[in-house]
Symmetry: C2
């Protein structure tokens, strides 16, 4: 077993929460203050303990795959492949890590678990697994880091399937080849973010892809769900940095050419990207690299309103200024982040003084913070880009508050999901969803989605929003909502919130997902996204790639 | 009829050559000198006149669509739609404008012509035409500017089709909407390049897409064939500047959302791009715009070898320097372009002096010219980008020769295709083809394709090559070959050249097309491009979109 496989052994990871078993969000002793803030935010007067069940206590039906069949199956694979049927593995893999998933995991309410988990070690293993599933009528769910927040890897089967198999790709996690001249690398699909970046950065190279899930997601998952990273403005989203891919389908293998651009027909590469395990199993990908930037500069700029900050982003991006990150929090998110980051009395005092200064500067009492990041090879070029961006920000009413907010954000940029586990222990809930819209449609989308969530929360929660990714034509919108859980109807409460927000997105003509993907949760809105004709084309692809329909049932495509 | 429709009336355009009837390549009286150069280049000792037939002399079978059916068909369309069955329209549309097409047109050898040409005026007309073709079993070929050089719009039918209809989209040529805030425009598919740019530039905006065919191609064609423009390094290729599209298919209408980025499944937008009229008729598209750049700077840099110049391009692009154009000609192309641009005795003398200077500079007798173009909004930024690029060019052995070559190229950048007509009048031929490859594979591809063409030409022609588009991971290669026509077997000669080059491309793992598309000519190499599994997926899409198979038969997909 490789060092990486050992590190990412599922026993080292939470089965019912985020990340490492031994890691948590560091509240630095300010637990009470956090819950005071959250009570204030959600209007929750009581915060009873709502602990998770133990996984050992969850009753599981035995695997629907007989021991003997398991043995035959295992014998068809390479010696390095691993087949697991123990309860921990079956439960760990049974779903992703969305709020809805954690609700059910913590309650031990699993409608399905996998009958078998297999870790292939090579492409031939993947082919053998696919063949076995087709032959035996088993549903097959490709699984990377399992960090999906849209139900993309959930154990689910069609009526006719006799069992469900999880294909955990993380033993296929090697960087196969680095071409320093073409600045590309070929990487096995199951390679985790940190493993990839450590390997590349030892050679002075980087992919530069840092989604919030970076530590616990794989490159295959990034491609399959069209991921975006925190600095995708510079390094490109997953669909954009993808040069070529290799996918094992029940109908055969699809391999696109290693070329920088082609005009040879509709892009099958961009069909693989976003296919979410529905068409095949991505086994390796070739991706575009960069030199590790020597210039890295993150700043905070305050704006009197979300609109003023968005206008600054629009103008910076449309001017072609190469910012690596432009992350703007709205009034409520800025306020919340300030409260969370100033929980000590000393910090509170400092914040009070800053607030006074800001008011004198005409910033009002509820400013919005923009984090501006620039990453470049050439320091003078990087500084010039930063200064051009700051100059536009000032023209739009921005007030530059220096590097501290940027540095602080950068240090904690992967930690937020750990906070969710702490919150869920105390009868509170938090979920996120996201979209993108044209600039012209951005405010309408913001108002509609925020309004829909607030109406549904009905005073028992708060909505915070930020722009994390921007383009010449528009930007993303990322919504985080905290709320007091309705302990009598937790799932119903979540479903109503999700439906209200998703309907609002569809009504404004925005997309159901900018970077989380579709999975099971967004499938009902795919008709609004691509129309009935679009669904038929996707079903046509599915029918050719996976004629017996074993792959990832219930995801991406709505039922007919 | 609109001013534009009048201007682009097919009677104003050559039916058997390039562009306007009354336009030609201006040889400034140096005709003899040109043919001397071409004789030297191709080894042709005689250059007999080989004029085209007159179109009136081409015998046509009557339309297979009866007069009465024509009338019923016309009556189903809007009053502004036009139906044409006269000989000129049928011949004009019968094929694209490749060398192979001109060979056959000039000889009057048309195996098929359209039975009817229809110019729809609105989406409802397109829908009615598609319905009529499905109902009557007529093949339907969507047609934009008709400038395809890969047989993409040729009149061709399947065995069962009772007739062939040409859907000329150029009466649907309006700019429907310009959103200055989101910097996007919605444009009807049949809009010609100059009409689009005139409309946009009146508002200070530009798409910035200038393929060599710019004056005679449409935005629908650019998307359908995944076009690249001369400055696509800055403005993006057609597939990249496409925000959304609307396509009428026999199975229904596909319309993608107007959003800057989505993660909602495989990209149907990138299936529409490159679909070459095989899946549906693109009726309108939304595309990303830019402000018209205030800084525009084109320079020439000479390199001692093609490899040294390619290395400079690679380093400039990988450093992220925003060059709008990096166009590098190899030794033979640079030599030829120099001969053609110095046909007067005065210019010859000046060139001799320059050659002497270059030799003293260690440039050898066969330098390669790089044209470096920078287009930016901010003049200081643009100048800094240019200087960074020039500095890398110098590090790679480049010698900056100032703005003159850039200015001269810019002025004549759309004229080259007119030269082909002059050449074809004198028993000579010229064709072009192109590919792209990773940097690591570029020299191998260059040598293989050039070698294959030279072997096939066997001393009776010359091959010139340039890089016109570059990416972090690799670049395009564009081959132009001049040759003495084998007047006894013109088509066979062309087929052998095409096959030799295409096989070489496939063998090196490069793409069969960087920006010309597939059409009929490249279809036999699609299996090498996407594999049998890829072909099956494309056929699956075709089957859903166009179940009776009326759309553009014989293009893109090889016969089974």
């Amino acid at each position: 077993m490789s060092v990486h496989a050992k590190k990412y052994d599922r026993r080292n990871l939470k089965w019912n929460g985020w990340g490492w078993n031994d890691a948590t969000y560091d509240l630095k002793g300010h637990d009470d203050e956090l819950f005071r803030v959250l009570s204030e935010t959600t209007g929750a007067t009581e915060l009873p303990a709502t602990p998770s069940v133990d996984w050992e206590a969850i009753p599981l039906k035995p695997s629907r795959i007989a021991k003997r069949t398991q043995a035959t199956f295992a014998a068809s694979l390479s010696a390095e492949a691993v087949v697991a049927v123990d309860a921990y593995e079956r439960i760990f893999h049974s779903m992703g890590r969305s709020y809805y998933d954690l609700l059910r995991l913590r309650a031990g309410q699993l409608s399905e678990v996998f009958d078998l988990v297999v870790y292939p070690a090579c492409v031939e293993d993947v082919q053998a697994v696919v063949r076995a599933c087709v032959k035996n009528g088993w549903a097959l769910v490709p699984f990377g880091g399992g960090s999906s927040v849209v139900g993309g890897v959930e154990a689910e089967k069609g009526e006719d399937h006799k069992a469900i198999v999880c294909l955990d790709m993380t033993r296929m996690g090697r960087v196969l080849e680095v071409d320093r001249y073409s600045l590309v690398a070929r990487v096995e699909a199951g390679c985790y973010g940190p493993v990839l970046e450590e390997t590349l950065q030892r050679q002075g190279l980087t992919l530069g892809h840092y989604p919030q899930s970076f530590e616990f997601s794989t490159i295959g998952g990034w491609i399959a769900a069209r991921s975006s990273g925190q600095q995708s403005n510079r390094y490109g989203t997953a669909a954009a940095f993808l040069v070529s891919a290799r996918m094992v389908m029940p109908s055969g293998e699809l391999r696109t050419l290693d070329v920088p651009k082609t005009a040879a027909g509709p892009s099958l590469l961009q069909v693989i990207a976003g296919s979410e395990g529905m068409l095949g199993v991505i086994v390796d990908v070739t991706v575009r690299l960069h030199a590790v930037p020597t210039f890295r500069d993150y700043r905070g700029v305050l704006f009197p309103s979300f609109g003023a900050g968005a206008e600054a982003i629009r103008r910076i991006v449309q001017a072609g200024i190469p910012a690596a990150m432009l992350r703007l929090s709205d009034e409520d998110e800025t306020h919340f982040l300030t409260m969370v980051s100033t929980m000590s009395p000393r910090k509170k005092l400092r914040q009070k003084l800053l607030d006074r200064v800001l008011q004198l500067r005409g910033m009002g009492t509820r400013p919005c913070i923009l984090l501006l990041g620039v990453e470049e090879d050439d320091a003078a070029w990087g500084a010039a880009a930063r200064d051009r961006a700051l100059s536009i920000a000032r023209e739009c009413g921005g007030f530059h508050v220096g590097a501290a907010p940027g540095t602080s954000w950068y240090a904690g940029r992967f930690n937020m999901p750990y906070l969710r586990d702490i919150i869920m222990d105390r009868a509170l809930g938090v979920d996120t969803l996201e979209t993108s819209a044209l600039w012209d449609n951005l405010d309408a989308t913001y108002q509609a989605v925020r309004g829909a969530l607030l109406r549904e929360l009905n005073g028992r929660g708060a909505v915070m929003t930020h722009i994390s990714h921007s383009y010449s034509a528009g930007s993303s919108l990322y919504f985080t909502f905290f709320f007091a859980r309705d302990l009598d109807d937790e799932v119903g409460q979540w479903e109503r919130l999700k439906r209200a927000a998703s309907d609002a997105i569809a009504q404004t003509g925005a997309t159901i997902s900018h970077h989380h993907g579709v999975g099971r949760d967004h499938a009902p809105w795919m008709a609004a996204e691509v129309g009935e004709s679009g669904l038929e084309l996707l079903r046509g692809l599915k029918h050719v790639a996976d004629p017996t329909g074993i792959l990832n049932p219930g995801k991406l495509l709505p039922p007919r």
